[in-house]
Amino acid sequence: MAWLGHFNYWIFVFLMMAGFYTVIARGNLIKKIVGLNIFQTSVFLLYITMGKVSGGTAPIVPEGGSEGVVYSNPIPHVLILTAIVVGVATTALGLALIVRIHEAYDTIEEDEIQDIEENANTLENSGGQAS
Amino acid sequence: MTGSIAIIAALLVPLIGVLGIVGARHKPNLRETVTLVTATCLFILVASLLTPVLSGARPSVTLLEVLPGLSIAFEVEPLGLIFALVASLLWIVTSVYAIGYMRGHHEKNQTRFYAYFAVALSSTMGIAFAGNMFTLFIFYEVLTLSTYPLVTHSGTAAAKKGGRTYFGILIGTSIAFQLLAVIITYVTVGTLDFTQGGILAGKASDVVIGLLLLLYVFGVGKAALMPFHRWLPAAMVAPTPVSALLHAVAVVKAGVFTILKVSVYIFGLDLLADIGVRDFLMWLAAASILIASVIAIRQDNLKRRLAYSTISQLAYIVLGAMLATEAGIVGGAMHITMHAFGKITLFFCAGAILVATHKTEISDMKGLGRVMPITMTAYTIGALSIIGAPPMGGLWSKWMLGMAALEAGEVAMIGVLMLSSLLSIGYLLPVSIQAFFNTPDPQKDGKPVFKEAPALSVAALSFTALGCIALFLFPDPLLHLANLIVAPVN
């Protein structure tokens, strides 16, 4: 049962795959962004997991000196804080794009957008002027 | 020192001519004068190199070094000089002819025509004087690029289709095979300089050398060796002066010139003689000679017939190179000149017929001898020269090639040469017979009236026809120069 001991890695793998699958399989752009978020979150978990030292505490020097105190590694937390910010920015930008796409195409379903784009292509090729 | 200046000048003069031509685009007379002056200057420059080369000097100049051992450099040696002399002399003649033809035929975009013509000549000079394979390759490609607008000059769908074939085969073979060969040579030898006696001997295994020979010969698509010959008939969509100068002289001769040059200065005759695939290439050249001749007989369009004849004649020169004897090289070099004069005459005549009577098919040319006596006489002279009959210059080069085959012990090749001479009678002379001995169809053509092409064109084709005879009477200077290729003066 040793593999159960690393359950946090299993969660990471499960979330990563779930998110990744959603990004690939879903045609709805919002759902894609949701999937992307889950995917990124799984990586946050990976980093936080690796910072944990068993028995470790928050890396704050307690009153009266730090003799014999075990700390968790704070670096992964700091790193992932940056990654979270990046994730927020990506999400915001992705959603902003979806808003604009919705305005331009009136839909946020990938296949419908593709149909519209292909129709536009055939129209252009049959003599229509590119805008 | 003056030699190197002359080389640079020979490259630049046509380009300066381009500026003049474009500058004078609104004044046709001035524009044509610029062309003629440029052509004359070029010929004088090239001719000025004759004396030093005959006395054994090799004027050279290095422009720049792109990579170590890879430079743009020029060196004048006898073979290149022969080629440059022929091309520059015939440029003058062709320019004279073109003035009559282009105006008589009311072609459009004449400025573009003259400008690209000059660019093509500049790159021809670059090929002729190239001091290493890299330089030659560059100018080879420039020549292809600069002649594309000339081939597609008329702008019709047929012209574009022909142009694409032309461009595709020439660029394709040169990049896929020739460039590869150049790079392999560079990697194995470390230099690409043309050196008397070759640079490859002892530097690579037999397999590699055999492969290189195949790559070089097939990589030079301009030599129109079968199976890479299709561009030449395709290029016949071009205006006649283009076909005449470029596809009888500059472009195709650049091809066979490259093969001769590679044989002598990259492989060296001694090494070449030992290569196994040389035999195969020799037979391929022989097959090219015969097959192209047979195809030529079946063509009714005069220009196409001449195109196939060119393919056949070019294979003579490849054959000469592949014999790997000194006489073969000398014969090849002489054939460059002889064939140039003969074939340009024939093309001039085809163009003159087109301008004067708008006829392109041989079957329509009955009784043309009475309408255009000068043209048709010149045609007959040119045809006899190509066939190799006395008293025309073509005799000498065929003679040399025959001797070379004998010397190399390839008796079968003599048979091929004889047979092809017969075939060339079969495809060239019927036109003369048609013109002089058949009476025209009175219902279709009406009463024959004397109607020659524009005077300038007639003058040009008469000049080249006389050239064929002159080369028969005075072949010595040429022979002397050609002999210098294989036996340099020390």
């Binding site: 928050a58 704050i60 670096i75 700091v78 790193l79 804080l81 940056t82 910010v85 990046v86 927020v88 920015a89 915001a92 930008l93 959603l95 902003a96 794009l97 808003v99 604009r100 | -």
Partner: protein, 164 residues
Amino acid sequence: MRHHLVLRVVAKLLIPLIMLFALYVQFHGDYGPGGGFQAGVIFGAAFILYALIFGLDNAQKVVPSGYLMALVSAGLLLYAGVGFAAMFKGGNFLDYGVLAGDFIAGQHLGILLVELGVGITVCAVMIVIFFAFAGRGNGDEEDDDIATSPDLSPDSSPNSAREV
């Protein structure tokens, strides 16, 4: 919004507290958990809450979008300015040690200023994003800066994050 009386009252009570907490997180960041990112988000949340309860127009009266853009820039400039100041004082870029008299004081000053810059930018960016999305479709079509504004947030993060 008149009938959401409870919400309005509670929000009015909470917003100052949220802001105060944000400031605590901000300025306590160099001793304990906290820092510019967290504080910025919390501070921005206060404004967003205000906008949710009292409407976008009222919120935009409090912080016009022109100011917001200025704030986004200002935070980043403060951050980079500290870096340059360190450079002019003879240290490396972002070397806080040289900012004040002694090393420790310099580190304090440096991290406080940098985190303040981060906090301002993050807060402003959060509000900008919210305004941009919320303002969309309200006849506010021409103001579609949303495509470019979010990318302002990560750039303040990279270098400071490691020093938190």
